[in-house]
């Protein structure tokens, strides 16, 4: 269950990364297709990152003298990540639910209370989750795993921003629908 939850959290986070990388670069009014493509791009990158993490886990397990113990350590580390990342993701999703309300006040309130502040604290949350896992499960395999996934998240963010960045030069022209 923990690997499945981490997979869903990773792909969701990357999808939202895609959204943020695409935001403020297209001045059209109707951008549903634009943002959908951006989120799918992020999710695709997320799947790539998860694949790398999966291969890493397999290597860590294959090289462990006692595979069962190594597996339990990694699961315990993953559990700590879920403890921190799942509530964060849950609150963001609740914000999206409320943002569908017809009231402009409630929609705006979600930006003030959730989307803005939670974007600001995203990296401290990422590092806190990884830190909790490393401190709670003193295993070098967990440390390596956490370091790699934090690195993958940063790489995904940079990649998505760079993908959009050259297109900022043509922001003067309407983006392709």
């Amino acid at each position: 269950m923990i690997p499945v939850i981490l997979y869903l959290l990773a792909v969701m986070d990357c999808a939202f990364m895609g959204y943020r990388a695409a935001a403020a670069r297209n001045a059209l009014i109707n951008k549903r297709r634009y943002y959908t493509r951006a989120m799918l791009r992020g999710a695709a990158l997320g799947n790539g990152a998860v694949l790398i993490a999966f291969v890493l886990v397999q290597v860590l397990l294959a090289t462990a003298p006692l595979r069962e113990i190594a597996y339990r350590e990694l699961i315990a580390g993953g559990e700590r990540l879920v403890w921190v990342y799942a509530p964060y993701a849950g609150i963001v999703l609740v914000g999206f639910v409320f943002r569908m309300a017809p009231s402009t006040d409630i929609r705006s309130m979600m930006n003030i209370l959730i989307f803005g502040p939670f974007t600001l604290i995203r990296w401290p949350v990422v590092l806190s989750g990884a830190g909790l896992a490393c401190v709670s499960v003193p295993s070098w395999r967990v440390w390596v795993f956490c370091a790699v996934i934090v690195g993958l998240m940063r790489a995904a963010e940079l990649t998505l921003n760079r993908w959009h960045s050259p297109r900022a030069g043509v922001v003067g022209a309407p983006a392709a629908a």
């Binding site: 935001a23 403020a24 001045a27 009014i29 930006n111 803005g116 600001l120 900022a168 922001v171 003067g172």
Partner: protein, 304 residues
């Protein structure tokens, strides 16, 4: 030296007030303006702007302003400026119809920039076939960009490089979003005095509402959403420069004795929860009953 801090975007472009032709801007003057006021960040941003022989490159400034307005549009989207304007504009247009106002009802957006509000209204406003939506701005590049975007989506609006108050066909309704904080002191009263033409029936000017949390909120939003340093600097300064309700109503009442002026939508539900944006509303006294009837349950938000 004036006491009202200017934004970088206020200073990097200049226009002949009569012809709206671009005037040269010396980069050193912009940098010195901010250095003298101890605004190191703004001075650094200005110092990095491209220039030829000490004069800011107009084409580069236009490209920068187009990108900045694209970023600022995100704020308009996240705070639903199009929808908000529609919620307030529609009742006032109905009030004008009930009062027998001449058609078409021309809605003019002052300092429209990239034209987000007019383009949104032109696509989703459903304000009626007797309504013309016109955006006006001094900057030809921004107006050109707004026209391209409106054409790309078939938005029913148009844009003019013009002083909004000297259009060939004057507006019945003047609106603006995030503009009035650029006018200070006598300039603010002069801005309102420009609404005194016979054709003007209503104005709706929306801007940041000052509050103890506004500076932090502006910093937070611009920190997480804006990539261009100029956007970040000017956005934060905009919130800090926002006029209070008292300043706006006093200036408008002084400049426009022929109008009823009041604030709209300052509080979320009740005091003391302020909304991020508030709107200065002005209308001809003869429209009062029609306005209150058209606003319906929202009439309570109008601080008459």
């Amino acid at each position: 030296m004036d006491d009202h801090p200017r934004e970088i975007s206020d200073l990097i472009v200049a226009y002949d007030p009569a012809t709206l032709a671009r005037l040269p801007v010396r980069k050193a003057e912009v940098v010195d303006y901010f250095r003298q006021r101890g605004n190191v960040r703004a001075a650094t941003i200005a110092d990095a702007l491209p220039a030829h022989d000490g004069v800011l490159d107009n084409d580069a400034m236009d490209r920068l302003l187009i990108e900045v307005h694209c970023e600022m549009q995100l704020l308009s989207e996240e705070f639903n400026h199009g929808r908000r304007m529609r919620e307030l504009l529609a009742p006032f247009l109905n009030a004008l119809r009930a009062a027998g106002a001449a058609r078409p009802l021309r809605v003019v957006d002052i300092g429209c920039g990239g034209g987000f509000v007019m383009r949104w209204l032109g696509l989703h406003g459903d304000l009626g076939d007797d309504v013309e939506l016109i955006g006006a701005d001094y900057n030809a590049a921004l107006v050109g960009r707004a026209r391209e975007l409106a054409a790309a989506e078939g938005s029913r609006c148009r844009f003019e490089v013009a002083n909004a108050f000297t259009l060939a066909q004057p507006g019945s309704v003047y609106v603006s979003t995030g503009v009035i904080h650029h006018f200070r002191g006598d300039e603010l009263r002069g801005f309102f005095a420009s609404h005194a033409g016979d054709a003007t029936q209503v104005f709706l000017h929306t801007d940041f509402q000052p509050s103890p949390l506004a500076p932090f909120g502006a910093w937070l939003f611009h920190k997480v959403r804006m990539r261009i340093p100029l956007s970040h600097h000017d956005g934060c300064l905009s919130a800090a420069r926002a006029h209070s309700a008292q300043t706006l109503t006093a200036a408008a009442t002084t400049a426009l004795p022929g109008f009823t002026c009041a604030m709209f939508g300052r509080w979320f539900i009740r005091k003391p929860l302020p909304r991020v944006f508030h709107t200065l509303v002005g209308f001809r006294p003869a429209l009062r009953e029609h306005v209150l009837k058209a606003l319906g349950s929202r009439a309570g938000r109008l601080e008459l």
